[in-house]
Amino acid sequence: MPEEVMSLGSPAGQFNEELLIRRIRDGEHDLFYELIRPYERRVYSAALAILRNEADAEDAAQEAVLKALKHIRQFRAEARFSTWLIQIVVNEARMRKRKEHAHMIEPIVDHQDEEGNYTPRDFADWREIPSETLERKEVRQRLAEALASLGEKYREVFVLRDMQHLSIEETAKTLGITTASVKTRLLRARLMLRDLLAPGLGGDWNSKLSFAKGTKPW
């Protein structure tokens, strides 16, 4: 295999990616493995954050990747491939979620006022993050639980912006909302997560966290 397609992580990665995409479009479908490999984690992570179930997330991630291959000709070079891919994943996950809930009565609309002010629940000091924090499984679990407890509209924005690193504009486009809504929801998501995590992560891990007790400050 040519050297240029083997080093997507290099500074020339963007160029290599374009080259790969061109060759895949020209019929070298096997190269799709190379193209997708750096994004496997992100694809799964995006699906999981929306579906909150590992099996569903894996299936949605696979389906999204297949769709990306099928529609690779529709990818426009002016966008980042990763953004395009994540948009497909998000659409796939959202579609599944809609199907899953199609038979259910529409839940009561979240009455949180998007435009309203958000008051932090407490002011626990959380200045330092131990470097090894994420190596601890229970920490990752706490983070996952906190994220899962957010309302869907906050979770989606947070996942795309802060976990998938899409821009505000890309997040807005993916979710079909305005950039103003993205900013408002992002603010709330971040503050809510801080409220959920700061008392534990900032100090004593054995202290009872609010979300562990099933209560939410909002």
């Binding site: 799709f32 002010n117 959380w126 971040r190 503050l191």
Partner: protein
Amino acid sequence: MVVNCEQVWREISNYLEGDIEPNLRAAIEEHFRGCKHCTAVLDGTRNVIQLYGDERMVEVPLGFSHRLHRRLEENMASGRRSFLGWMVAAAAAILVAGGFEMGRSSVFSHPELRSEHAQPGSGVPPNMMVVVSEEGKTFHVPGCPFIHDKARLRTIAAREAIREGYAPCVRCMRKYLSASLISPSASADSEAQVSGSGNPNLRIKRG
């Protein structure tokens, strides 16, 4: 400009994004210097972004990559199979169409006619005995006055005559020919030949 805590909380996300007016930024930074609570909120929010932005945050299930690649492989293989199937179907269609076309060609159903303007004798009973001459281009019922070379006649079945490229005489075989292709004047000429099928105009040619 002076800002209070509520204003700081409202802008804290934009502040971390760097999406804020310089004056407001300066005012917020001034506020942080004197407000421990807001500093705690700022630090915590920054930590949230940092922690969740780390890819280690999500554990990918064991074997995820392998299963994904296997599914891709299956998909590509099935794509190749359908492409192959499509190719086979296309080749079969070409063969059928080709066969049909060949069937229509002179070699198979209507041998190359000795006369380029003759009408094929497709309506003639195949077992009917007809007469042909070596030099002639048409076959006739025995005794037809329009036989060209009476010295070298052969009597053969109509199917054989057709196979050898003879065309029916428009006079003696008239009743077997397509009526639409026959003009009254043609019947007067023993070797009158009909031009290409579908063309109602006749070209008269001596055999």
